[in-house]
Homo-oligomer: 359 residues x 2
Amino acid sequence: MARVKTVDRGTVIAPSEGRGDVRRSVGLREVAQAAGVSTATVSRAINNPDVVSADLRERIAVAVEQLGWVPDGAARALSTRRSQTIGAVFPALSIGDFAHATQAIQSELSQAGYTLLLACSEYDPDLELRQVRKFVERGVDGLILVGQAHHPELVPLLRRRDMPFVNTFVYDSQTHGTCVGPDNRKALMMMTDHLADLGHVRFGVIAQSTRNNDRASARLDGVRDALASRGLAVRPQHFAMGEWSIADGRRLLRSLWQTDPKPTAIICGNAHLAVGAVLEALAMGLRLPADLSIVGYDDIEIMSHLPVPVTTVRVPGAEIGRIAAQVLTARLEGRDCAVSFEAEAELVIRASSGPPPLD
Amino acid sequence: MARVKTVDRGTVIAPSEGRGDVRRSVGLREVAQAAGVSTATVSRAINNPDVVSADLRERIAVAVEQLGWVPDGAARALSTRRSQTIGAVFPALSIGDFAHATQAIQSELSQAGYTLLLACSEYDPDLELRQVRKFVERGVDGLILVGQAHHPELVPLLRRRDMPFVNTFVYDSQTHGTCVGPDNRKALMMMTDHLADLGHVRFGVIAQSTRNNDRASARLDGVRDALASRGLAVRPQHFAMGEWSIADGRRLLRSLWQTDPKPTAIICGNAHLAVGAVLEALAMGLRLPADLSIVGYDDIEIMSHLPVPVTTVRVPGAEIGRIAAQVLTARLEGRDCAVSFEAEAELVIRASSGPPPLD
DNA sequence: TTGTAGGCGTTATCAG
DNA sequence: CTGATAACGCCTACAA
């Protein structure tokens, strides 16, 4: 099959010139020509400078500067089969510590030479799957997810292309090496024990939906298990469900307070609910913790500044993000690295929790 | 932190196996072969289905499914010179409304078929420039930035490659079509007028640094100008500078309250400072607004829930993000679109502001 | 140390 | 409507 080889570009450019712009953007070729070297040398000067003589390196640097050349990531990615890109899918950014975690991930990745692609799943496994699939098409080198419970097709999809990923904000010893975070269940057992040790017996719970949220489920399990081991349980009427807003916290605290008997301690499933509950309790004239103990999960800044500082579980969101990024980049670069990580959830005891009223 | 060695998880990778893999990853070619058509047809079936006969379309769909083919974004980007990717550089994510805005941008872009690349500048123009440059190398189709004041090389860099971009959270009539946001100066003039109309004369200011932050500067200008037009001014000792924390707000409120004469109204440059100032004032036993008026900027959820709800300026962060994304994608697709947009900053008057004490 | 040349996986032009 | 094939811009053996 006699095929004419690629004609030297630039020799003849048809005036019609289809999609190519008139002023061809400068590329490696132009730089090479300007510096009087081959494209290979320019490429090396960029990616592996020490292997190029100082002389040429300098000439090339000048040419790059003059022409204002910027390497083309797509071409590089196509050639190396690496995009230097990591995708992260978070449920949302304005909830709990996710913003901090995202920031930490970005910063860490940036330092390691990676770029962060970000998407939100809105707690919808289907959407999460779609976002992940899009990331795969975009050619990300790895993924950071939240939680362990994903769409059934998600992990297979990743495994098939052996795409590295790490689940964050969860930890359980079952799943080796794929998660970075606190043991949500243990954290809430700890919190529940704290309250039970103070003498509480009637517990209320204000939690976000556990639908598509294994962290939330695990937290509830923690409360249940800790209570069960003492022969206690949360009465149905002392269980209230909201989402992630202060308004929900207020509303639900008010409704729990209308039960009889009332709980003496209320455990909130997230920081927003806890803040709302505390503010509503104060607005209702309750004395915390004399009349009621209220505790939360996640130590956002406001927690320690409310008129009654709130007892909570501190989860190091930024650190989790940082470590997730490190684990991932290490794995990508074949470096040895801790692949299993349990973040220490710390009980932060403040004024909102204390012994139950005597009555 | 429990460090565990990498455990081989199932996937055995032959030691030889370089990138010239035995099982070449499936590509357009393999799909074409399996479907008995040309690669061109497969490509068309994907990107322009209506131009392919239903028959072939079906056969191709089957082949794609069977082989589990996923198109390669890098190759596509290289070929089309479009990455379907937008870069956003925010100062931070955990400040003010940036998380909401980012989420809105992501959602909007996703719907339009774009992916979001995210980076943080930490209020450092050099870092911002570096992040932008990296995004340009990554081949983003457009950029979303915050503010108008950038590194001097930034805009030229973008102009040279005529890369579309939009500045967010700012608006001024000078710069046509490149910004989406509120007029920060006007917003604080409005706020200042509100207080002055109530009869305040001695104003205090608790603000974040204006260094590398044109929004913060504009806000201070607004306060100054509004006061100046009434022959008023902030006394030096009534001016305190912090950053974005509740703790700063508390500290600075306390220090302002030690001056003599004291201000009767304190304007805070951001929501975090305002929340801190209000909480500290309450902790000090001050009655708001009887003893002191305190106002903020940005209407984050907590503002309306504090024991004394806080008067503030509501900036529609999510909407700004959404519009920025729309403007950008419209421009990229040659669609006609409003290119200049001023977001309405709304004065939200709550209980923390009122007439000055009589004394 | 440097150059030559053959991909990387898609798209798009052009001819059937 | 379909097929063949030249780019897209860079990387990287392999050769010199």
